[in-house]
């Protein structure tokens, strides 16, 4: 549990996430074309298996670690006596709020080994970004989020994302805005209770 500055990225993890599989693949392919040259089966295994494992890691590894981190956060917050009665799981961040206790737990997808627990009084600002842009028939959005500013850095929690653009009054956007508005109120209530 960390009460220091909230950081979205663990750069060591981020670089390892991208480059370790590439390095392993390169090493295995090097071995396959070096010592294993002429040993067909061994070379094939050393070429194919690390490549498939890397793809599997890039597709699902981060999600797996993030889901483990969320479960760990719930358990650790409970163990610390934090009653996280409001929880929001988003693609990039998970937010756990103890409204009465005025505490906020945060877990980032790109920093899954740290669980941040901060007093809600450290939240400087909360607001909703409906992502609406464009004019006339092109007016729309593909992302709705609520943001909290902690220690001068912004934490953006998406309540709706899509690869399509939706009209501002579409059901998807309205649902996203409603969730974001609700969460801004929850965070403000926690901040008030934190004093």
């Amino acid at each position: 549990m960390c009460d220091g500055p909230v950081r979205k990225f663990n750069f060591v993890y981020l670089l390892a996430y991208i480059f370790v599989p590439i390095a392993v693949c390169a090493l295995c392919i090097g071995i396959a074309f070096g010592p294993f040259r002429g040993v067909g089966a061994g070379a094939a295994v050393l070429t194919v298996v690390p490549s498939l494992a890397s793809i599997a890691w890039w597709v699902g590894g981060g999600r797996f670690l993030y889901s483990r981190a969320k479960k760990r956060a719930e358990a650790e917050l409970k163990a610390q006596g934090v009653n996280a009665n409001q929880i929001f799981y988003s693609r990039g961040w998970s937010v756990f709020v103890d409204v009465a206790g005025g505490q906020v737990g945060l877990v980032s997808f790109w920093n899954p080994f740290k669980i941040f627990l901060i007093p809600a009084s450290r939240i400087q600002k909360t607001w909703v970004d409906d992502g609406v842009g464009g004019v006339a028939i092109f007016k729309g959005s593909n992302r709705v989020s609520f943001l909290l500013q902690v220690d001068n850095s912004n934490v953006r929690v998406d309540t709706f994302t899509s690869n399509q653009r939706f009209a501002p009054n579409s059901d998807h956007i309205l649902t996203g805005i409603s969730k974001a508005d609700t969460w801004v109120e929850i965070l403000q209530a926690a901040k008030q209770n934190a004093g």
Binding site: N169, D171, L174, T175, I177, S178, K179, D181, T182, E185
Partner: protein, 114 residues
């Protein structure tokens, strides 16, 4: 004439299902649905659920953020006296409404509630 009127009545919520006359609104009321929250909406079709959970309110601004609301229209046919209740379940979002369900109770299911 009757055939065309029957066809047209399909597209009019406020026409009597029995005599195809236009019904008049005899009562309007707005309710909050405290156990339905954004992201956790569950559709219900039974009148008993609404009788149990609807909380009357004066205006939309009284609905807390993220909570569903329900508009009730009570219709009465001036020709045959048939009564119908229309419930529109929606999520108020700022100045907009996201409609989830529109339900008609035409056989007196909501009479006890009214």
């Amino acid at each position: 004439m009757g055939f065309f009127r029957n066809i047209r009545s399909i597209f009019h919520d406020d026409w009597c299902s029995r005599c195809k006359s236009q019904m008049e609104v005899v009562r309007k009321q707005l309710y909050a649905l405290p156990d339905q929250r954004v992201g956790h909406y569950k559709a219900h079709d039974d009148a008993a659920y609404y009788q149990k959970t609807l909380v009357p309110i004066e205006k939309k601004a009284q609905v807390p953020t993220g909570m569903y609301a329900c508009g009730m229209h009570v219709y009465r046919c001036p020709q045959c006296g048939h009564q119908a209740v229309k419930l529109t379940v929606f999520l108020p979002v700022r100045d907009e409404e996201k409609v989830e369900q529109a339900l008609y109770f035409e056989d007196g299911e909501m009479d006890a509630f009214l």
